[in-house]
Every structure is written in structure tokens, then in C-alpha cells.
Symmetry: C2
Subunit: 192 residues, 2 copies
């Protein structure tokens, strides 16, 4: 029996080393945190992959955000990757502050519980990365958090998902056509 309020079984566990399949295409994501009993969610576009195994990523969370203090203090967060059906939601979340509103209530966000960390996750999203803060050395100078992905759950394969990509000035591009070039790859570059 799944734990109370665990992710629904429409999500499959993928190896954490496959986090690049979700993050490398560059989607806008929703970062969730929990600190001192308070849940928060923010919209985030500045992230990258750093390594496969251990699975590491980095993200820049501006010090002005409520989530900055929560992430630094708790050392945990989840990265929830929405599809385009949540476009207005992610824009709305990106344009208000957890200091003023309960964003989960305002944007009618369903919540589930992460498994490896004590953080809420968003089952309306296509993929969820549970993360632990691995290295905070760059936080002071760049607000840059180096995270280890400790669990990856996927509901919609990135080969079929319609992610949202931000191009600034209130404008977006959605993920489009799928193309494969497997025959042009060295065999050791495939599979991940």
C-alpha cells in the first residue's frame, strides 16, 4: 500500500541518472520547499544538469524569494516539471510572493508527499525530482544551489511531453516536434 498521500501510481520511478531527460530540454519548473511547517512553491527557469551519477543538477534561486531561505535551511526541495496545461498557473506563481498569498490555495495545486525528503510535490506535473542540497559554496556569490537528485518520478515521458520554455518578456515557446538521430550516435552515448 502506498504511503499516505504518496504520488499516484500514474507515476513511475526512473533511475535518478536519467534526470537529464527531463531537465536538459530546458523546461520552466516549479520548485517546492517545506520549512518550519510552511510549504512554498516558486517558478524557476534557471537550472542545468551537472552529472549523471551521482545525479546532480544546479539551480539559481534568487535571494529575494521566500524559497531561497527555505531551501538553504532545510537542504531539500523538489523540482516539479509541468506541461503546458499549467502555463497560466506557472506564470501566476512566478508573479506573486509566498509572503503575501498561499500559492497552493490560490492556484488550486494538488499536493502529495515526497518519499525521500520532507517536501510537498505536485502530482499535476509531468515529472518530479526529489533533491538534497549537495553543495552551497556558490550560494553566497551567485544564489546557485548544487543539488543531488535522490528520486526521479515520471508521469509523462519527455519524448511525448509538451513542456513550457521561457524566452523572456512574458513570452514562451512550447515543446514541439520529436526527432531521433540514434544512428548518428556512438553506442556509448545512447541509453541515457
Amino acid at each position: 500500500m502506498p504511503a499516505q498521500n504518496a504520488l499516484p501510481d500514474t507515476f513511475a520511478d526512473w533511475p535518478a541518472s536519467h534526470a537529464r531527460q527531463v531537465l536538459e530540454p530546458g523546461p520552466v519548473v516549479l520548485l517546492t520547499t517545506r520549512h518550519e511547517g510552511r510549504d512554498n512553491v516558486m517558478t524557476l527557469g534557471w537550472h542545468q544538469v551537472l552529472d549523471f551519477s551521482p545525479s546532480r543538477i544546479s539551480c539559481m534561486v534568487s535571494a529575494g524569494n521566500h524559497s531561497f531561505a527555505a531551501l538553504r535551511a532545510s537542504g531539500t526541495c523538489a523540482i516539479n516539471v509541468p506541461e503546458a496545461d499549467l502555463l497560466d498557473t506557472l506564470v501566476g506563481i512566478g508573479n506573486c510572493s509566498g509572503a503575501e498569498v498561499d500559492k497552493f490555495a490560490r492556484f488550486k495545486l494538488a499536493k502529495a508527499e515526497a518519499r525521500e525528503i520532507d517536501v510537498p510535490v505536485l502530482p499535476q506535473c509531468a515529472a518530479i525530482l526529489e533533491c538534497r542540497l549537495h553543495d552551497a559554496r556558490m550560494v553566497e556569490d551567485y544564489n546557485l544551489f548544487i543539488l543531488e537528485v535522490v528520486r526521479l518520478c515520471v508521469r509523462v515521458d519527455p519524448a511525448e511531453a509538451t513542456f513550457v520554455h521561457f524566452i523572456g518578456d512574458g513570452r514562451f515557446r512550447l515543446t514541439g516536434e520529436s526527432v531521433a538521430r540514434r544512428a548518428l550516435f556512438r553506442p556509448d552515448m545512447l541509453g541515457i
Copy 2:
């Protein structure tokens, strides 16, 4: 009169602070370097934006790449952002080594000269970011270079470009539909 072998005037200079418009959507890019008279180019997918002004980005260049040593030693590189017409080229470049082939010759890459740094750039690409190495503290542990964008040149607006997004295992998604949500943004979040 433009400098010898400068970028053609189909490129416009944009403020370096607008680098996010090109990089944040998550395109696969081509990184060019020059060191000890030798030019090189590699395919790169692991990068992110760090700040608007000064315009800063980070990118992970694996220590196994020829470009790693060139970037570290020269302290300069260019990030060239191709459209989907160069898909086979960027896959080919990502699957061979500068140790074995002259990739510029093999892939028939046109070359121009950067303006602010001594690095070749690729005028077949949609946008070009000339970069200086700003902080190498994370290179030892993560192969992560923090760069300052000292010039941004754009030939195809990201609102209209068809970038290439990698989802692993030899598969890609192309940039799709354009959508705007400017009315949902706070005024101070627009314009950049």
C-alpha cells in the same frame, strides 16, 4: 567597415543582459574555443543562466573534452546557438573528438571572428554569445565554468527560432508553438 571576417550584418547586437532570451529555453549549443592557434568546437547541452547584469551564465564542460583545456587556459569561449537545420551537424560534432578530426572542415562550418575575444564564431547559428571565464572555483569539482557574456549577437529572434532540445538517448524535441502571457506578468517582470 566591419573588421575582417566579422559576423555578417544579418546579425544584430543585443544587450548582453538579454542572454536569457536565447539560453533559458534550453537549446543545445555549440561551444567554440581557440587556444595556442588551434580552434575547436563541441556540442553542449548543460548550461544555465545565472544573472542579467552583469550577464552571467554557467556551463559544464566535461574534462574529457578537448575544449575543457582550451577554455580553462584561454579564459574565453563563444556559445553558438544553432537552429534545427544544423541538427545532424551538432550530433556529428557531439560524437567525435577534436583529437582525431578537424571538425570545422569535416562539418563544413563557416567561421567568423568574435569581436571582444579571440575566438572563432559560427555565422550559420541563430545567436552567438561571446564569453569570458569569470569564476573557475567550481571547475575542479564539477567541470562547471561560470562565464560572463560580453557580447550577444542575434540573427534569428528566439520568438521565431526553431532550436534543438536534447532529451537523451539520441532523441530530440524541436522548439514549437509561440505563446505569450504578458498580461499575467507584473510590469517589472517584463522587457527582458
